[in-house]
């Protein structure tokens, strides 16, 4: 009887450390799984950042009416049809752009706001509505294209295209990440890392 009790005690002494060891192992596994999940999301996003940037784009086709004066009495009216492509500049996206909530259930991703990534205004995108004799189309068209770019940028800001482009980028990134993980994804907009190469600076002309 005494022997059986001693054996039982011995078993208990073996079982308790076993349970403790397994609990520690499970906690360790869970924690490392959470970190691995975050790392997997970071890898998937950072590796594909150029492709994601292209996906999250919005095209703004802006017809611009331009009036030009070439000499005292020589005027022309032109329609230029430039296209601005808004997208994300994700070259600075890194591990620091990702953050996990305290409970580990939400992953926050910070992206810069959308900006102009391409400007297109081909010769076929221009139409001369009227031009006086002596208006030098070859010489003035370059000036017209620059003015079309400035006008299109101004229109894009005035018509809040930039905000919608940013929203479009957030939605697409959110959809992409939400499929690849069980975590809740929250995409936030941070400060622009770099300024657009197409600045809005020139006066209205």
């Amino acid at each position: 009887m005494k022997d059986e009790r001693r054996k039982g005690m011995m078993d208990m002494r073996k079982t308790i450390p076993t349970i403790l060891a397994l609990t520690v192992l499970l906690i360790f596994c869970c924690c490392s799984k959470k970190d691995k999940e975050l790392q997997r999301i970071i890898d998937a996003t950072v590796v594909n950042k150029e492709r994601i940037a292209n996906l999250a784009s919005l095209e703004f086709h802006d017809d611009v009416l331009l009036f030009d004066r070439n000499g005292p009495d020589t005027t022309a009216v032109i329609i230029a049809r430039p296209t601005l492509v808004f997208g994300l500049d994700l070259k600075d996206l890194s591990r620091d752009s990702f953050e996990k909530s305290a409970d580990g259930d939400t992953i926050f991703v910070t992206i810069p706001p959308a900006q102009v990534i391409h400007f297109i205004c081909n010769p076929q995108d221009r139409e001369i509505i009227s031009a006086d004799k002596g208006w030098d189309a070859d010489r003035r068209m370059k000036v017209m294209v620059n003015r079309a770019r400035e006008a299109a940028l101004r229109d894009a800001y005035e018509k809040r295209v930039v905000e919608r482009a940013t929203q479009h980028a957030i939605e697409n990134l959110n959809k992409f990440l939400s499929i690849t993980t069980d975590k809740v994804i929250s995409v936030r907009v941070g400060e622009p890392e770099t300024q657009s190469s197409l600045k809005l600076s020139a006066p209205k002309g």
């Binding site: 450390p17 292209n54 919005l58 919608r164 959809k175 499929i179």
Partner: protein, 189 residues
């Protein structure tokens, strides 16, 4: 082998089995894709200018007669994923390959707010008659027709949506561990 070690191994195996006997992970991803309902891949915004179209007869008349109207439009295209299911994927796990079949892209939204169609420019030379109110109204009415029938189809937004959907699915399934992702569209020749 001592009882202690045997028990650890046994318990670990039970835990491992319990963890790995969860739901098929791909079933969850497919459900999530279908729940997106419509994947808006491509958005174009237009600030469009149109002029009165000179008729053949008009070009022989002396002097110019120009009337320009502007208006805005927003066009969105994408893929209807509401019916997405296991039937749309073929998986070769050994080769790390997945083939995804998607429906053809379609234009989902065309917004042309009528109140934002406005006159931008009018010039009539002295030899020509001014634009009558009726004529102006007709040009304004033709504006929406021109956008819907001529301008929007010419933008190629559906081709862009096809390209964007292919890219979206490729990066998504790459992230899920498939090295080779092939995206096809239904009725694609």
């Amino acid at each position: 082998m001592s009882d202690f070690i045997r028990r650890i191994i046994l318990t670990a195996l039970v835990c491992l089995a319990a963890v790995s006997c969860g739901k098929d992970p791909m079933a969850l991803q497919i459900k999530k894709i279908a729940e997106m309902d419509f994947l808006e891949t491509t958005t174009y915004e237009l600030n469009y200018l149109t002029r009165n179209g000179p008729s053949e007869y008009e070009q022989y008349k002396p002097g110019k007669r120009v009337l320009l109207y502007s208006g805005v439009a927003r066009i969105t295209a994408g893929i209807d994923l509401s019916g997405f299911s296991y039937d749309n994927v073929e998986i070769d796990k050994a080769g790390g390959t997945i083939t995804v079949t998607l429906p053809q892209p379609m234009i989902s939204i065309v917004e042309i707010p009528e109140d934002r169609i406005k006159k931008e420019y009018e010039k009539v030379s002295p030899f020509r008659s001014s634009f009558m109110a009726q004529e102006k109204e007709q040009i304004k009415k033709d504006f929406e027709d021109e956008l819907r029938k001529k301008v929007i189809p010419g933008l190629g937004i559906e081709d862009e949506a096809r390209k964007d959907a292919r890219e979206f699915m490729t990066i998504t399934f790459n992230a899920l561990g498939y090295e080779n992702v092939f995206v096809k569209f239904k009725d694609e020749r």
